[in-house]
């Protein structure tokens, strides 16, 4: 092993590691608490002192996905014995399931709008980034600045006219409206990130392809796109996470049909007061995929965050 004066000593490393891991554990506690609360019974969830060891139950998840009413004896007799495990859980609390809740729909809306806007944003963004990277577009610098400046506006400030515009066009509370909106919000950063990735691809590849008789379009999708795949993928993750988490536009512009999960989850209430296990269950289903994503794609993600910020 070569000796380096800049390599920290072993003791320093231990000390640094100890502090960082300590911080990481503290920062994890709220997230672990969300996941744990999802598996608690309502009584356990509001117990004092807070319970760490408890008997896990799926009651929160059942309450999340169903609407229930308080059962009278008559209703229980009419309904007969419970046939499924989730009916059993509801019965144990003296309620009967009256139907599915809206959570499933809201979650599906999040998926549709998230993936739809990401796909559209990647198509438009890659094309624009390619043009900015390879061609002499008049006013190029102004356009890039214009793209960046659109990120400075508070969402509420532009929500008023967008609300009016969407109402006139019949886009209020539709999937298409939300997809277009999220695409526009994400485009500025995407073009900026993607241009960086495409700039790194040597222009000689395309020139060779053009000489071989490819048209510009062919050169674009047969040579440039495969080379930029990693960059496109990591930019797509950012767009997806933004659309997935977005709240301000969603709460103002959607109410029923196209409402996504973030405005819906806080409105979950139980039969008697706030049903925290159900809220936590909804949050868990919504948040855990992002955490898994973050771990799996950490290299691209972390690079993207700093790259996007530092290049500006």
């Amino acid at each position: 092993m070569s000796f380096s004066v800049t390599e920290p000593s072993l003791r320093t490393k231990w000390f640094a590691g100890f502090l960082v891991i300590g911080y990481a554990i503290i920062t994890l506690i709220p997230l672990v608490w969300i996941i744990a609360t999802g598996f608690k019974s309502p009584a356990d969830s509001i117990a004092y002192p807070p319970v760490v060891v408890f008997e896990p139950t799926l009651e929160g998840y059942v309450n999340l996905f169903t609407d229930r009413t308080r059962a009278t004896e008559q209703m229980l007799e009419d309904a007969g014995p419970p046939t499924t495990w989730y009916e059993q859980i509801a019965r144990d609390r003296g309620t009967v399931i009256s139907g599915p809740s809206r959570y499933g729909e809201r979650f599906l809306n999040s998926v549709i709008i998230g993936f739809g806007s990401t796909a559209l944003c990647m198509i438009l963004g890659t094309m624009a980034a390619y043009a900015f990277s390879r061609f002499k577009v008049p006013l190029k610098d102004d356009l890039l600045f214009f793209i960046l400046s659109t990120r400075m506006m508070p969402p509420i400030a532009v929500a008023i006219p967008i609300f009016l515009m969407f109402r006139n066009l019949g886009l209020n509370d539709t999937h298409l409206g939300m997809i277009l909106l999220y695409t526009a919000v994400n485009l500025s950063l995407s073009v900026w990130l993607l241009k960086g990735f495409i700039d790194e691809i040597p222009i000689e590849y395309e020139e060779a392809a053009l000489i071989d008789g490819y048209t510009r379009f062919q050169a674009f999708y047969k040579v440039v796109l495969p080379q930029a795949a990693t960059g496109i993928a990591s930019t797509a993750i950012f767009c997806l996470i933004f659309a997935w988490n977005e709240y301000a536009f969603a709460v103002l512009l959607t109410s029923g049909n196209a409402q996504t999960a973030p405005p819906f989850i806080p409105t979950i209430i139980g039969v008697a007061g706030k049903d925290w296990p159900a809220v936590a269950a909804g949050a868990t289903i919504f948040l855990v995929p992002v955490m898994v994503f973050t771990i799996l794609l950490r290299k691209h993600l972390l690079r993207g965050i700093t790259f996007g910020a530092v290049r500006k």
Binding site: S4, P49, A131, P154, I160, A184, V191, Q218, I305
Partner: protein, 315 residues
């Protein structure tokens, strides 16, 4: 092997037609590629901004579309700038901005500095620390109200455990004095990782050779830190402050779910106030003027800041 007949035909083909066969000209392709993006940004970003500016000079109300819209000139602006409630809102925003930035820079930079010591497994722990900033602020903010519950909340329990106070005796989001700190704590938990990542990029951009040279000159570690690490990481640190500043000036989702602006108006940040004016009181013209003032403020402050940043970079 070329066929002379085909070559002749190719030469005779007029320029325009040949191009159509070969593909579109670069210029056309450039426009085809850029146009949809520009169009969408114009439609969803610039057009609304212009519309907001126009509305800000009227007394239009969305919930009364049949009322005749009157031009009121600068009256909306006058009313906003002379309204004491708005100044209270600005103060709440300033408190939130200043403290979140101070805490996030201190903690974020320290973490980045420690992670840069390259202990074993540092990238895994970095990823775990980054979790909060990847999650939905509204959903997480909603859950923080649970952590802040007076008797049953985990946060109150932890504070009580370490200080010996009664966990039911204080309410982070119900108390006028504590609520501004409740949102600072939640935001710091959520966004410190961002500052950390930017600082980490800054620290990693410092070449080892500089430290080696300093070591040869027998500069102490302390001195190396203040004369190499800090100045060289400063542009990155300032960049992180810029982004957090802009983002927290726009802050809406996390805080609206946490406190809803209460108790009273103690945590009513500008975005929350604006939302109330625009979508609860439906004073569209008035709130448009409000939006314009906010936008000009952010843009102005950011421009001044970027100038300062560029000076630091040049040094």
């Amino acid at each position: 092997m070329t066929n002379p007949a085909i070559e002749g035909a190719a030469k005779k083909t007029p320029d325009g037609l040949a191009r159509r066969i070969r593909g579109l000209s670069d210029r056309t392709i450039a426009w085809i590629f850029v146009a949809p993006t520009i169009f969408l940004l114009l439609a969803v970003n610039i057009f609304p901004l212009i519309w907001t500016i126009r509305l800000s000079f009227t007394d239009f109300r969305v919930n009364r579309p049949n009322n005749e819209v009157e031009w009121v000139g600068l009256r909306n602006y006058q009313r906003i700038l002379s309204d004491p409630d708005i100044w209270a809102t600005m103060q709440a925003t300033a408190h939130f901005l200043i403290w979140t930035i101070i805490l996030q820079v201190l903690i974020g930079f320290t973490l980045a500095f420690l992670i840069n010591k390259k202990f074993k497994g540092n990238d895994l722990w970095t990823t775990i620390i980054v979790f909060p900033m990847m999650l939905s602020p509204a959903v997480v903010g909603n859950f923080w109200t649970f952590l802040y519950q007076p008797q049953i909340g985990l946060f109150n329990y932890a504070i009580a455990f370490f200080t010996g106070a009664d966990p039911a005796s204080f309410s982070m989001i119900g108390d006028v004095n504590l609520a501004p700190w409740a949102i600072v704590i939640a935001d710091t938990w959520m966004w410190t990782p961002f500052v950390m990542l930017i600082c980490l990029a800054g620290l990693r951009s410092i070449p080892d050779s500089i430290y080696e040279a300093a070591e040869c000159d027998r500069a102490s570690k302390w001195r190396q830190f203040w004369t190499i690490t800090i100045p060289m990481a400063l542009p990155f640190l300032m960049l992180a402050v810029l982004f957090r500043g802009i983002e927290n000036f726009k802050m809406f989702d996390l805080v609206v779910q946490l406190t809803g602006g209460g108790p009273g108006n103690t945590t009513t940040l500008t975005s929350i106030d604006l939302k109330r004016e625009a979508f609860e009181r439906w004073r569209t013209g008035y709130s448009s003027a409000y939006a314009v003032i906010l936008f000009v403020t952010v843009f102005g402050l950011a421009s001044i800041y970027v100038k300062a940043l560029n000076k630091v970079k040049e040094r």
